[in-house]
């Protein structure tokens, strides 16, 4: 594995702080606009407002795990440590959004379906996806050797991300209680703008979270490398 000088170079960026502030302000604005302006749904009434957090959280989960897939494959091909650290950062952020998606789905399910949880294809496959990435994070905390940790993580990360299309298509392949994918083409136009702006705000927050988590991973790794170098120098 290449532990380059790049790992040791840990910049501190004010621009990313501003980006984070902008992302959260964008989310406040998007939510306020969506809540205040979207009309009540014919069937669900105002309950449809949960859609503005549940659907973007699900999309961002998928996207974060696609980042894991891309950087896991990059790691397998190039053996660059920074690829492993980006994949791990995206996996943690993705698992956070995945957990949020499940909880928001339960909050939607209780009034809409009369049950907090139903063992149907979409919910079950989303739960399996969540468990795979919780396993991925647990694996990383159990393996001390950085190279072995990166190799095993890349394999599990790629395997986990392959499940994303299955989760996405589950509502069409196994037609059960969950509605088909919410997208601008399947929704009333009155809700499309609110969904898009909230999805963009969630996307900005995901980028910010991954960047900060990556910065944290690099700092920890750089400290480990200094400690290792000091220990070798002392022998």
């Amino acid at each position: 594995m290449n532990e380059s000088a790049d790992t040791m170079n840990v910049p501190r960026s004010r621009a990313w702080t501003l980006f984070g502030v902008f992302a959260f302000v964008a989310l406040i604005a998007a939510q306020a606009h969506a809540i205040l302006t979207s009309p009540a749904d014919r069937d669900m009434g105002h309950l449809q407002k949960i859609l503005y957090v549940h659907v973007p959280a699900a999309w961002i989960t998928f996207l974060a795990f696609m980042v894991v897939l891309v950087y896991s494959i990059r790691y397998m091909l190039r053996r660059q440590e920074k690829d492993d650290l980006v994949a791990a950062s995206a996996a943690e952020v993705g698992a956070t959004f995945n957990g949020l998606t499940l909880v928001l789905g339960m909050i939607w399910g209780k009034p809409a379906w009369g049950a907090w949880w139903v063992w149907e294809a979409r919910l079950t496959s989303t739960l399996i996806l969540f468990m795979i990435f919780v396993g991925y994070l647990a694996l990383r905390s159990f393996v001390d050797d950085p190279e072995r940790r990166a190799q095993w993580s890349a394999a599990v990360g790629a395997f986990g991300a392959i499940n994303v299309p299955i989760v996405y298509m589950s509502v069409r392949w196994w037609r059960t209680i969950h509605q088909i994918q919410s997208s601008p083409s399947t929704m009333d136009s009155a809700y499309v703008l609110g969904l898009r702006t909230n999805a963009i705000a969630f996307l900005l927050i995901m980028i910010y979270f991954i960047r900060r988590r990556y910065e944290l991973a690099r700092l920890r790794r750089a400290t480990e490398l200094i400690a290792d170098a000091a220990a070798l120098g002392g022998n």
Binding site: V10, V53, W108, R220, A227, G233
Partner: protein, 49 residues
């Protein structure tokens, strides 16, 4: 029914913000701690030289 729906909507947004702000605080705290450890380790290495 309508009031009950408002409670579910309120819970959904409260949980969303709780998770987002909770994760933000967690990562920022860990970053501050990691930065302090990194600077401390760097200084120790410089002193050893």
């Amino acid at each position: 029914m309508q009031d009950q729906n408002l409670a579910f909507i309120g819970a959904a947004y409260a949980i969303t913000w709780g998770v987002l702000l909770g994760y933000l605080i967690r990562v920022h705290r860990a970053l501050g701690q990691a930065r302090a450890e990194f600077e401390s380790a760097s200084k120790q290495t410089e002193r050893a030289r």
